[in-house]
């Protein structure tokens, strides 16, 4: 682009020579620089996705080549499977928790940290810490926290003198316990998004509100919040994408149990496709997940983020 812009005052001859030498050095670069990324990406991202669509119509254990064509049967089995329905609901719950708990919490903390308060950097550091830990480690730590025999929840129960609950073993409670871990691990990241959003707000707007005599809460509700719209949408977008990938954290906590009450799309794919080496069925789950991801990414961007 910029290479084609001829600076004024250069003679035509020079610019022609330049263009020719540029054109000559263009192809070697393209031939050397593009193929590694292109090859790797095609072979290990695009082709497998295409193959998933193909395998999803077969009943196949992964050895030899797929021969047993079953049509749409794998897809029918998925949508008839109550564990998959539960996984869909759980993915929805994660997004809901993000909207109702994580976004308000992150925004609240971000406004406090962005105000002139001593130790803001320290708190910011602490709140972000869970985000850099591996999901597996976070899941394992919280498995200990929730443990009814040895964990912190047990300790608190003993302290106030009640029987310790086993939340992760209770199919009605386990998913909510997991939502707690998800918020614990990710609120710091969302808080950083809001801190960045708050910084981008033009301070003269807030000063104008000050002069007009707005209270702190009025300023927040009428000036800050509307200006943070794009950040809220971004934050929710990350929560949606994250919920569709949630796997690492579930495995150490519950592995999808008890009786499938904490499955997500990816744990479902793993538990029903990978561990049983049901390549056809697992691929079909992958295709469904892919369609959901792409649809959400496109429609969310079209509908909610089109002005951002």
């Amino acid at each position: 682009m910029s290479a084609n812009a001829v600076p004024a005052g250069k003679t035509l001859a020079v610019s022609r020579r330049r263009k020719r030498s540029l054109a000559n050095s263009k192809w070697p670069v393209l031939i050397l620089f593009l193929p590694p990324a292109l090859l790797l990406f095609t072979v290990l991202v695009i082709l497998p996705m295409g193959e998933a669509a193909w395998y999803s119509f077969y009943n196949w254990n992964g050895y030899g080549s797929p021969t047993q064509w079953v049509g749409w049967r794998n897809y029918q089995l998925i949508f008839r499977n109550s564990a998959f329905t539960q996984a869909l609901i759980n993915n929805g719950l994660i997004v809901l928790a993000s909207l109702c708990v994580q976004v308000p919490l992150a925004l609240w903390l971000a406004t406090m940290i962005s105000s002139r308060i001593k130790g803001a950097l320290f708190f910011r550091l602490i709140f972000f810490l869970p985000y850099v830990l591996a999901d597996v480690a976070a899941g394992m730590i919280w498995r200990f926290v929730y443990d009814g025999d040895f964990g912190l929840v047990a300790g608190i129960s003993h302290f106030i003198g009640v029987e310790p609950p086993f939340w992760l073993a209770d199919r009605d409670v386990a998913m909510y316990a997991i939502l707690g871990v998800v918020v614990w691990k990710y609120f710091g990241f969302h808080m950083m998004l809001f801190i960045a959003g708050l910084q981008a707000i033009d301070k003269s707007v807030l000063e104008a509100a000050d002069i007009d005599g707005a209270t702190g809460f009025q300023k927040f509700r009428l000036v800050t919040l509307p200006l943070l719209g794009s950040t809220v949408r971004l934050s929710v977008f990350f929560a949606v994408v994250g919920s569709l990938q949630l796997f690492d954290m579930i495995m150490p906590l519950t592995g999808g149990g008890p009786s499938n009450s904490t499955q997500t799309m990816v744990t479902f794919l793993y538990n029903f496709g990978v561990t049983r080496m049901q390549v056809g069925f697992g691929s079909a789950v992958g295709v469904v997940l892919f369609v959901i991801c792409v649809t959400l990414a496109f429609s969310y961007k079209r509908v909610f983020m089109r002005n951002d």
């Binding site: 990324a37 002139r116 047990a154």
Partner: protein, 294 residues
């Protein structure tokens, strides 16, 4: 893809949103709230570390407090064990290879997209952007079969190459945006002086790109260091397991002895925590701004 103008370097302390001083009452309320949230974050981590110093019996009666008798052997046994160091070095090798290839291949491709006009360039960029839209888990079974057919199952490369491939979209996006924003006078000047693309890439673009190299490097390092599902599928031998898989195996082996599991978790997340406190500014900025810009 989701570019917003807010992704500037984030520095909370130096940029108050309001010029007013905060009243004392509000300040107390703020500190109390912040300390409570900080406690919720930190207490599980500290109890995990302390739990590793206890006996199982004490863990049952006293999960919060300091151990009455510090069981150093829980930790030292792990530190002198081969498996801990093996898992750490497995993770490190996989992460370093992943970072190196993600940076090299991504920067090279992005350079073409940023500076060279060629037929189909825009289509190719969009092609790579598809990779940002779905996680590796989506295609994990065909991916496994492909890696198996390439003879890479149970090797480091079997983990590294898929990770690099799925990181390509992010890497190319971030590099391309950065390269495009370098001052265009540089190109004009260099090309008039007869500098070709290749030399330009090595001698001008790369030296100017340290910040974005750091960002992409941090994102792919943290991603690979913490990754679980790809190694879980691709590796069979425990001798090649990175530490997140190691934790799961360890927990399976010592399921009745939480104190050992806690010591093991503490030791495995220790490098992350140390690195985070040493390079917090870069890590926070890299992970946040990077996520927003791609």
């Amino acid at each position: 893809m989701t570019e917003i103008s807010t992704a500037q370097p984030i520095d909370a302390a130096s940029a108050p949103t309001s010029g007013q001083r905060i009243r004392a009452g509000t300040q107390v309320y703020m500190y109390v709230s912040l300390v409570i949230v900080a406690a919720i974050v930190v207490v599980p981590l500290i109890s995990t570390a302390l739990g590793g110093f206890k006996t199982l019996g004490e863990l049952r009666g006293n999960p919060f407090g300091l151990p009455t008798e510090w069981q150093w052997s829980n930790y030292t046994d792990i530190i002198i064990s081969k498996r801990y160091w093996l898992q750490m070095s497995n993770s490190l090798i996989i992460a370093l290879l992943t970072v190196f290839l993600t940076l090299t291949f991504g920067a090279m491709a992005a350079f073409c997209f940023a500076h060279i006009r060629f037929f189909g360039a825009n289509y190719l960029v969009n092609y790579f952007l598809i990779g940002l839209m779905f996680p590796a888990a989506t295609a994990i079974l065909p991916l496994y079969i492909r890696i198996r057919d390439l003879g890479l199952v149970d090797t480091y490369w079997g983990v590294v190459l898929p990770q690099v491939a799925f990181g390509m979209g992010m890497s190319i996006m971030l590099f391309r945006n950065y390269f495009r924003n370098l001052p265009s006078e540089l190109f004009d000047a260099a090309f008039v002086d007869g500098c070709g693309y290749m030399r330009f890439f090595w001698h001008i673009t790369l030296p100017l790109s340290r910040p974005i190299i750091a960002t992409v490097g941090i994102i792919s390092f943290v991603g690979s260091w913490n990754s679980y599902i790809v190694p879980l599928i691709m590796l069979n031998s425990e001798s090649r397991y990175p530490w997140p898989l190691g934790i799961m195996i360890y927990r399976g082996e010592f399921s009745t002895e939480w104190q050992l599991v806690l010591a093991f978790i503490t030791l495995t997340i220790l490098p992350t925590i140390i690195a985070f406190f040493l390079a917090q500014k870069h890590i926070i900025a890299g992970l946040t701004a990077g996520a927003v810009k791609s």
